[in-house]
């Protein structure tokens, strides 16, 4: 497409001027050379527009941006001296790293590891419990963790400045972008606390910046800077993915850019296929293998550091738990094969599926038969113990016990209550299409409905049932259904444990698969379970599955007002970071509305401008009579196109997500949108000469720029209490510092 367009542009130029009559191929090469010079690597053109004077100007701007950015983020970093919002999670997880306690979180570990490291380096000892938002820090050292996040957050405006400068070659566009980001209250607030977002955004912006820098090295392949930026892109990608899965979007962006890059290299017939192969391989190394290696390394470090049993154990499989010091499966030993007469616990294979459980409580009136409840329970408890019986319980145990085999008919007797696991044709309490499972009988005597057939998944008749390692299903003899954990929580009468049913649908799903976890049989020799220790790759895979399940399990609750993706660009509603009442110190995460609405308008403007420009080019309208109209088109379409793609990739996927969403998910997309604003507004002002005569167009340009910066500064002054804290009455009170600034009813300050 792009090549075509360039060809078109040249032919459009050709007809009236009629100076060159080359073939299209030459045309192509010419335009390539053209863009090369515009890119700033070829000498003459470069110096023509951007003199050393310009260079000095952009350096000065850059220093200014760095200064402003760090001062806005580090100002009042210690305020408020209590736990704010999600600090309660991420601060706590940082402490877990310092204490080496295993925990479970839905995000990959890098962000929390870095937080933990920052805390450790600045003398935080990991003892603060981070119980709930609003708890005072007292004497604990929290400035290190906050400062670390804030410094990473402070890098965003400088990075954005450099990226836009690279894409547009215009210091003004870069400065507009940097000002938008530096003075946005939302970006300031989200950078100032112990959160994953500043770390994530740091890596995302780092990846984009190094990708853009790498693109610029296009004409010096395999040189040192070329390799440097390539590797740096890869490192940043692994960092972004290592903090949150949102990093996938920036990987997509870089991937698309690389594919496009390779595509144009392939079309360059001067490049031999061998050279092309080198290009491909180097990118495979830098952008796939290296990040993958780093990503796996992060997890390796995670597992090595966290070697003590902790609150995350229950989410993981039995094999996984055997790794953790302090867990009862650690260095445990038990008989290897399931036998009659054993006492066992049975764990569902669904992630966080819980143990098969029963207790001295009956199903209430109206819920199937009024027999004893059978549930799934996530915690370890003596009520999870079951005794394995043969179906015809005639032979008394003597000598060597028999082993249970695939296809055997067994009974499971609840150890505590001596009731048998039982099912019958009553509907289950919550999943109405399934059958109810109860505890029935006494002292192991029951009826034919207590018979279950053991089936090892993927096994054959006669296979033994391995403890921990075999996936087992229990088929009910009388009705043919299979023991099933639906994952739904029972009401109060069931102690909010998880429902157990007997499902007539025999598909093999983890819901109907179980494994034997504890296994006690004094008559059998114990073997050490250390042989069961999972391989590193298995752990990696399992923890990813657990994370993904955990993520999709974060469903919005019905009675909670949840944020919708369309709320975000219009700045519809923020998040309370701290404080609710008039007396409290309040911090409210909300973007500077002037800036956000400017971003929104610019998005629309950008689409209109690109549509007009491409139509004009397509119809052969002469744009380049004046100054540098064509360069503007190119910046708009290539640089702007890249940023628009970035925005779309970081925003649109949220519409398809079923999980609960929050306002702060928009911030990565907001970075791209702000960069696009810089380029759009700058190009718009610069091309004022398309419709105004020179002196006026220059006035418009200067005036517009001045207005823009003033508006940004003024709005920052108005809204800065959102980030730096408010006290006193709420905004609807005329005495408040924020009086008159509650422009939307949905804002809560």
């Amino acid at each position: 497409m792009l090549r075509n367009r360039r060809g078109q542009m040249n032919t459009g130029e050709q007809s009236p001027v009629s100076t060159h009559h080359e073939s299209t191929q030459e045309d192509d090469r010419l335009s390539e050379g053209d863009s090369q010079s515009l890119n700033g690597t070829s000498a003459q053109h470069d110096q023509g527009i951007y003199s050393p004077n310009n260079e000095a100007q952009s350096t000065a701007f850059f220093l200014l941006v760095v200064l402003l950015s760090f001062s806005t983020r580090l100002y009042k970093i210690m305020e408020p001296p209590h736990v704010c919002w999600d600090e309660t999670h991420f601060g706590k997880m940082g402490s877990y790293y310092i204490n080496r306690t295993f925990f479970f979180d839905v995000h990959p570990p890098l962000g929390k590891m870095l937080i933990g490291l920052a805390g450790y380096m600045t003398g935080y000892d990991g003892t603060y419990p981070f119980l709930k938002p609003g708890d005072r820090y007292e004497h604990h050292n929290y400035w290190g963790m906050r400062g670390f996040c804030a410094s990473l957050g402070s890098c965003l405006p400088p990075f954005a400045y450099l990226t836009v400068l690279e894409l547009s070659q215009s210091p003004t566009a870069a400065l507009i972008t940097a000002a938008v980001l530096a003075f946005d209250t939302g970006c300031i607030t989200i950078s100032q606390y112990i959160l994953l977002d500043p770390i994530l955004m740091f890596f995302i912006m780092g990846a984009v910046l190094s990708m853009v820098k790498f693109n610029r090295q296009r004409y010096r392949p395999f040189s040192t800077p070329w390799w440097f930026w390539l590797v740096l892109t890869g490192v940043n990608l692994s960092g972004a993915l290592g903090v949150k899965f949102v990093g996938l979007f920036v990987i997509l962006l870089v991937g698309m850019n690389t594919a496009w890059d390779l595509w144009s290299l392939l079309g360059d017939l001067h490049l031999s296929l061998i050279d092309f192969g080198k290009h491909v391989l180097s990118r495979v190394f830098g952008l796939i293998l290296l990040p993958l290696f780093l990503y796996v390394t992060i997890f390796a470090v995670h597992f090595v550091v966290l070697n003590k049993s902790g609150p995350g154990d229950g989410f993981f499989s039995s094999a996984f738990q055997s790794r953790l010091i302090g867990n009862n499966l650690h260095n445990a030993s038990m008989p290897e094969y399931l036998a009659y007469g054993s006492i066992i616990t049975v764990k569902n294979l669904r992630i966080a599926g819980g143990y098969l459980h029963s207790h001295w409580h009956l199903y209430p009136e109206g819920v199937g038969a009024k027999q004893q409840q059978v549930t799934a329970y996530l915690h370890k408890d003596y009520n999870n113990m079951w005794l394995v019986h043969r179906s015809n319980d005639s032979d008394a145990q003597s000598g060597e016990p028999d082993l249970v085999r695939h296809g055997d008919i067994i009974q499971l007797e609840h150890k505590e209550t001596t009731r048998n696991l039982h099912s019958h044709l009553h509907e289950a309490p919550l999943t109405k299409k399934h059958f109810q499972v109860t505890g029935y009988g006494i002292n192991g005597t029951g009826d034919p409905n207590d018979l279950w057939q053991v089936e090892v998944c993927g096994g054959r008749k006669g296979d033994l049932v391995k403890v921990l390692r075999s996936k087992v299903r229990f088929l009910h003899r009388a009705t043919g259904c299979v023991l099933y954990s639906s994952g739904k929580t029972l009401p109060k009468w069931g102690w909010e444990q998880v429902e157990i049913t007997c499902s007539p649908y025999l598909k093999e799903t983890p819901n109907s698969q179980w494994n034997i976890e504890d296994h006690i049989n004094t008559k059998l020799p114990n073997i050490s379970l250390s042989v069961l220790k999972p391989h590193f790759l298995e752990i990696l895979l399992e923890s990813h599955i657990v994370m993904i399940r955990g993520n999709s399990g974060l469903k919005p609750k019905d009675n909670e007002m949840n944020s919708k993706p369309w709320h975000w660009p219009i700045n519809y509603q923020g998040l309370r970071f701290s404080g609710v009442n008039e007396t409290e110190y309040r911090v409210y995460l909300l973007g500077n509305p002037v800036i956000w609405w400017l971003n929104l308008v610019s998005l629309g403007l950008y689409v209109v401008m690109v549509a007009v420009a491409s139509l004009a080019l397509r119809r052969g309208v002469q744009l380049d009579k004046r100054r540098i109209g064509r360069k503007h088109c190119r910046v708009l379409m290539e640089g702007g196109g890249l940023l628009l793609l970035g925005w779309l990739l970081h925003y649109v996927p949220f519409y398809t997500m079923g999980r609960i969403l929050y306002y702060h998910h928009y911030f990565p997309a907001m970075l791209f949108s702000s960069m696009l604003t810089g380029i759009t507004l700058d190009t718009l002002l610069q091309s004022a000469d398309l419709w105004l005569r020179p002196p006026y167009s220059d006035w418009l340009l200067r005036g517009g720029q001045a207005m823009l910066f003033l508006a940004i500064l003024d709005s920052f002054y108005m809204f800065h209490p959102l980030s730096y804290g408010m006290r006193g009455p709420l905004a609807h009170d005329p005495d408040s510092t924020m009086a008159g600034l509650k422009w939307m009813d949905s804002w809560e300050f």
Partner: protein
């Protein structure tokens, strides 16, 4: 049959539009001469299609699979009763109902069980006729589509035959189901767009094709939302073509603008209007109140004949001080309900040990009840003074009122006590003074949410009102959870202090309304029991009704139920799944939806080969190595966009859907994939290899079809699976087919479990 003969004529003209046009021109000069050219292949193919789809559609005379679902809507249609079906827009039901209308169906059949015998009043033949016709006409459309893509007639014939012998498509066409209708519209839309694209510019026929594209796209979307995928594909194709047109600098700006506007009107505006039109007809036909009324707003219900309209007819419009009202929650989640109170107090202590105010319970109750009546009271007047003055003083936005419960005379109250189930919100109660320094806080501000449109007065049914508590600025809201035993399992109502934005659960409207006339409590109770009176008439505009209905259809979610025959998209390509549509209780004859294994495998192969070919050509062309001429490349590209693209857009989105999926969802994608087989074969034949295995291949497919047809037409032979001995005598190729089929059939029995068969 009438429809089919006119179709034949249509098909003939389709074959040679230019000739027809020529003949029209010449007919101006000469005496009237009709020259018709008949493409016999097309006629034969059509006849075969009709034969395979229409033969014996009366059988079985019982409800087959999803007929049980569509049937109830057909019945409601014939009775003109309003319903909501969230599975798709109304055109599909309308088409099925048209079949019922032709057959003179009176709608009296209880659609509750698959396999139930039809009673004699159900015109089975005409109910199944339209889907079967649509399914058979797809066969010639496949032929035309491949011809339009620029491939030979033999290839086109191959496509038509492959489609003809795909038994899953046969099964799906032979019953009262919508997939065949959808596929028909999809194919027709693609064919007509290609016709439009290939026709010479400037001819009026071309414009007709364009318009037909728009119309059929609208119909496809109108039958099932799935049609959107193909519609978007066509829009994308049209956008690329239009962009090429814009780049043609030989054309003047005016011409280009005209073209662009025409295409926009025909492909975007026209389908939108038609879509609205379907709803217009739908809403006009279904004017009686029915089973799904409760899901709609009071205003919508009042516009239907019977139901709420009978009650609300004659109510005063403006709510005044002294009005007796029932307040319905605008939110219909979890169920629609009315603000309610009764003579029972909150328990002093809840099960978890928290305390309550022990005042009278206020709940939301999903049934009509005399305890749903409340009286709007002016705080400035005495409790005794509960009549509407004359003239009535209307309540306006911003007014402060008290709400008095009609039967118990308690005032609606909320205070800083945690609500029973949602402790973050305030308890709402009917105030009882226990003298425990818990003052009455019973003043509510009326906040009309949709006041811009409705001025300032609180109106019955039309106004959506928030009740904001004066002392705590909490909003009266339905929390969504239900109370335990002590609250009779009614829904909990709370005062929400952190209410923000517009939440339907915090908005109420007056549904039943009368002006109170009685001074005494006893009299008032009698009055509350009596029906309402006086007359006002209000009607919703079509657009308002459309928007409400469309919104409800898109947002109403049925709890995801698992189904014995549900499957995941991955199982579709490998045909690792089937659906038992019908089973004769006695003879064990069955009908299964299962694909022709050979066709499915070939289609998958063709897709893989196409992707390989495409990629290798693409990369080689990039290096300026041109294996095939430019024209062939463009042809291959276009075929890929239509066939492979059609497959992709109709298949891949299912991976992101969370609803229960079935094998028949794959059929539109399969249709496009099948078309790719002969296309790829011809390309291989003319450009890569010089052999002609088409005929042998045809044989193979025929044999595969013969075996699996038993599934499609439900013969009793299935009792003895496939009569193995007879089959083993056949040739080698057939053996392979046999093995495949036997393996699938044994596989079937294993997965179906002990309950079936």
């Amino acid at each position: 049959m009438l429809a089919s003969s006119s179709w034949l004529h249509f098909v003939q003209t389709l074959g040679h539009p230019r000739l027809l046009f020529d003949s029209m021109l010449t007919s101006i000069k000469l005496p009237i001469v009709i020259r018709a050219e008949i493409n016999l292949v097309l006629v034969v193919v059509t006849a075969l299609g009709l034969l395979s789809r229409l033969y014996g559609i009366n059988f079985p005379k019982a409800v087959v699979f999803d007929e049980v679902y569509y049937g109830q809507f057909v019945s409601l249609y014939t009775k003109q009763v309003f319903f909501i079906d969230e599975s798709g827009p109304p055109l599909g039901h309308m088409i099925l109902a048209f079949g019922a209308y032709l057959g003179g169906f009176d709608g009296n059949f209880i659609w509750n069980r698959i396999g139930a015998e039809y009673s004699s009043n159900v015109p089975v033949w005409s109910l199944r006729l339209i889907p079967a016709l649509a399914g058979s006409l797809c066969v010639p459309l496949c032929y035309l589509l491949v011809v339009e893509l620029g491939y030979s007639h033999l290839t086109a014939l191959g496509a038509a035959l492959l489609f003809l012998m795909e038994n899953s498509l046969i099964v799906q066409s032979r019953f009262m189901l919508l997939e065949s209708v959808l596929i028909f519209f999809l194919l027709l839309a693609v064919v007509s767009y290609l016709r439009f694209h290939n026709a010479q510019s400037g001819s009026p026929v071309r414009l007709a094709w364009l318009v037909l594209t728009g119309v059929t796209c609208a119909c496809a979307v109108g039958v099932k939302y799935m049609g959107l995928f193909t519609y978007f594909l066509l829009l994308g194709l049209a956008a690329v073509h239009t962009w090429q047109l814009i780049g043609d600098r030989a054309l003047s700006n005016g011409v280009v603008l005209m073209q662009v506007v025409t295409r926009f009107l025909a492909l975007v505006v026209l389908p939108l209007l038609l879509y609205l039109g379907f709803f217009y007809v739908h809403l006009n036909l279904l004017y009686r109140s029915g089973p799904h009324d409760q899901m709609m707003s009071s205003a919508f219900q009042a516009s239907l004949e019977g139901g709420l309209a009978r009650i609300t007819q004659g109510q005063p419009l403006e709510v005044a001080y002294g009005s007796q009202v029932t307040l319905r929650s605008v939110s219909s989640k979890p169920i629609p309900c009315w603000l309610h109170s009764h003579k029972a107090n909150y328990p002093i202590r809840y099960e978890n040990g928290r305390g309550s105010s022990h005042q009278q319970q206020v709940t939301c109750y999903p049934f009509k009840d005399v305890n749903n009546w409340w009286i709007i009271k002016d705080p400035g007047r005495f409790v005794q003074d509960l009549v509407v003055s004359s003239p009535p003083r209307p309540v306006r936005h911003g007014d402060v009122v008290q709400l008095l419960h009609g039967m118990t005379s308690r005032l609606l109250n909320t205070h800083d006590v945690a609500a029973p189930m949602s402790p973050h919100a305030q308890e709402v109660s009917g105030y009882i003074d226990f003298n425990v320094s818990m003052p009455a806080q019973n003043l509510w501000k009326v906040d009309i949410a949709n006041r811009e449109a409705e001025q300032d007065v609180w109106k019955t049914i039309l106004s959506e009102v928030r009740l904001i508590h004066i002392n705590t600025s909490a909003v009266l809201k339905l929390s969504g959870s239900s109370l335990p035993e002590w609250g009779y399992r009614q829904l909990e109502v709370v005062g929400d202090k952190i209410y923000k934005g517009y939440q339907p659960s915090g908005v109420w409207n007056v549904e039943e309304h009368r002006y109170g006339r009685s001074l005494e409590q006893r009299e008032r109770e009698l009055e509350l029991h009596s029906p309402t009176h006086i007359d006002i008439n209000r009607n919703l505009t079509f657009i308002a009704k459309f928007l409400e209905l469309q919104w409800k259809m898109l947002t109403v979610k049925h709890e995801d139920s698992e189904h014995k025959y549900s499957s995941s998209p991955l199982e579709w390509i490998t045909m690792n799944t089937n659906i038992a549509y019908w089973l004769h209780p006695a003879s064990n004859a069955q009908i299964h939806l299962i694909g022709n294994f050979v066709t499915w495998t070939l289609a998958n192969l063709a897709l893989a080969v196409y992707v390989l070919l495409f990629l290798s050509y693409l990369l080689r062309r990039r290096r300026k190595i041109e294996d095939i001429p430019e024209a062939t490349w463009c042809q291959l590209l276009q075929a890929g966009v239509v066939c492979a693209g059609g497959w992709a857009v109709n298949y891949l989105p299912f991976f992101m859907m969370e609803k229960t999926l079935f094998l028949y969802h794959y059929l539109p994608a399969l249709t496009f994939q099948i078309l790719l087989i002969p296309v790829v074969l011809e390309h291989l034949h003319t450009h890569m290899l010089r052999w002609a295995p088409m005929t042998r291949l045809g044989l193979w497919i025929e044999s595969g079809h013969r075996r699996s047809r038993t599934f499609a037409q439900g013969r009793k032979r299935l009792r003895e699976p496939f009569q193995r001995k007879a089959l083993l005598k056949t040739c080698f190729v057939e053996c392979i087919t046999l093995i495949l089929l036997v393996s699938t059939s044994t596989w079937d029995q294993r997965t179906l479990g002990p309950e079936t068969v």
